[in-house]
Symmetry: none
Subunit: 214 residues, 4 copies
DNA sequence: CTATAACCGAGACGGTACGTCCGGTCTTACG
DNA sequence: CGTAAGACCGGACGTACCGTCTCGGTTATAG
């Protein structure tokens, strides 16, 4: 899926005179081998040097493509990495359903941990957040693509438990979801403490203690 | 306090052959008027354009100083902004003590909210986190200077409540502190939802519900 | 003529690790309008401020080009000015042939005088000589491009006279050529005495007196 | 001898407001050990890196002096090196008098050759000429201190020969002096051909051939 | 079955910023 | 007060990338 369609071109773009009037590039013309090579190159460079040092120039060289090809398909480095990030973490979308909220939550955390331990997702996320702080387009896309969608995953998980009667009637599910999500990001971004099994156990226990029936 | 003394020069520096062997500049030679002008200029530029676009070049121009003067006293842009960030948020160190954890927590959140609403602290924090993801020096300094120290502030607040008997004997204070802190950062960094009075109320209520006595 | 191809990149270059291994830029990619604009800007600045104060930065600004464009096509400021100098003085190559050595020599001196009176050739020559004193590449290029080639012009002039029988059989033409050439440079570089009609007359008379037949 | 007294402070100097009104530094206050150390350091650096790369900063460091001390006693780098150059070549002032112009001339050339072979005089001379091309003060000082004075040395040598009857009555001594002097400089500055015994012989023979009696 | 339009690599180009060096001035502390 | 030390503002260095722009060569519909 071509994510960037939802991240509009930078507003202050100088050379957009012609671009703005013509139709956007037709995706069906896109050479997907090139497209993928660019994303893979971007992933390798983020892994090796971090988001900030992965330049468009270096990505093009690493992918064996021309810079223009990158600019043709993504309006900014942030758009490119948002697509990459989305595809990296989408594998955590596995609809775990082990019959109990605690188990589902543990499985979800395990999956997230694995992704962040084996991919450059962490540095990409940090970079996107930084870019978002001065680019409203990136901020909007980040909120929409990542926060809203992915929080929904956990909410669904809680709602299944609610339907099964595992959760108190008056529980504040929004707060619980936020607690889980923000705890994850806090650890991922800061790296000040390990994101490990023990952390997962503590988090699940404490969150559930606040909302579990009885 | 000369913070940057704790953020060592970048390891991968190319031209550090000589610098690495000589002593750092003696702080007592520092012209504090210039030093302050630079920090204020950095704050103005972060406010106006965001951390990522506040270049050393622009800071020097805005401060009316030479670039070299900045490089003399701070090993990197991150070190400069870490000092600035520390001084900005240190005003939240006010040891609120209103006799009850809930009131103290509300006062603390209010203060944090004010700081982030009236200073460029948010974009600076996002930028520092991004820089930390590829620079271990920044990561270490961030963890030590910000996370550890400031979490301690909230912990003390809880401990006073514990001593007063407001908090359950078996409460997990670490988890509570982490919950408060990560909730704050999550909102600050993403900006996906407002950091307002209502959020503060919800956070205080939910956190205390988990640890309050009875 | 792309002179600079013969002036190799500086040997002591620090960042040449990669550059040294890749091919030089392909001349057929060169935008000759830009190339000419840079040379003209360099000439204007040398004229106005002298060789030493004509910085690459200022040349780029004056030419309306980027600095990188200059560095792409010339390995050093000296290489750029050597190309400019060569093109300035190449107009003295006019193959004067008035049927007598004395007349040819006078015509040649007049042409040289005009060039140095109306172009920044003097300050450029002085600058190149200074650069040559610490850069073997510049020294070699200067010797080859200027000294050897241009001395040949005068030698040919003498040889035509020799063939016409104007010059003694045992005359030392090399010494005569050196005398003419070094007298010119001495006056041009020092500017301690005028390079005028009277000087030309004296020089021609004295040199010919030493080698003329009879 | 404090040469620089004759090279006035640069005219375009920006910060000379106060300097221009106060008395010049009193030479009797000068610490001659410091003065000499600076000149020796300047010589070493010119020798090692050439005139252009011998910076005031580096000279101060090499001499173990402060930059200000250099600026106190010399108005510019050119003034410093002009003093150094003068002291270096003054040793050729030896009033050779071997009873014949040819012998005197050979002795003089030998001395000059030795000086240029064992001191950084060549790169200093080239640098001074370059500086002179955009700084009238340097140009004037160069003409006065070097050209006029030193040409006088050779002229005296010829005049002694004239008095002894070795030289033609109608010989143009000025031209002969200029020929000798410009031939020397041409070779020294360009370095395109060796300044050796053979060159000296040729020069002496050819010059004398033009002016010798009979 | 061409032709023509878009893609693609390569890389030149005008710029901005980097981090360093040095120029020339000024201040501090020592002797 | 001369000096060593070095902070300071300014400006240039040579490099890295930015985002735009040709330039040829290739690919793949559309006529």
């Amino acid at each position: 899926m071509a994510f960037h369609a939802r991240l509009p071109a930078r507003r202050e773009s100088r050379g957009s005179r012609r671009r703005a009037q013509v139709a956007p590039p037709r995706a069906d013309r896109r050479n997907s081998a090139v497209h993928d090579a660019i994303l893979r190159a971007a992933a390798r460079l983020a892994e090796r040097y971090g988001y900030g040092r992965a330049t468009i120039e270096a990505i093009a060289a690493e992918a064996g493509s021309g810079k223009q090809t990158i600019y043709r398909w993504w309006p900014s480095k942030a758009a490119l990495y948002l697509e990459l990030y989305t595809s990296l973490v989408s594998e955590a979308r596995v609809h775990v359903d082990e019959g109990a909220v605690a188990a589902d939550l543990r499985a979800f955390l395990k999956r997230v941990f694995e992704i962040f331990a084996t991919t450059p997702a962490r540095t990409i996320l940090a970079g996107l957040i930084a870019d978002a702080s001065h680019d409203p387009n990136v901020a909007d896309a980040l909120t929409e693509q990542l926060v809203r969608r992915r929080k929904h995953l956990i909410r669904v998980l809680f709602e299944r438990g609610f339907d099964r009667g595992e959760i108190r009637k008056d529980a504040d599910l929004d707060f619980a979801v936020d607690t889980v999500y923000s705890a994850i990001w806090f650890r991922l971004l800061l790296g000040h403490a390990p994101f490990d099994q023990r952390f997962a156990e503590d988090l699940v226990r404490q969150v559930l203690q606040g909302i579990a029936a009885r």
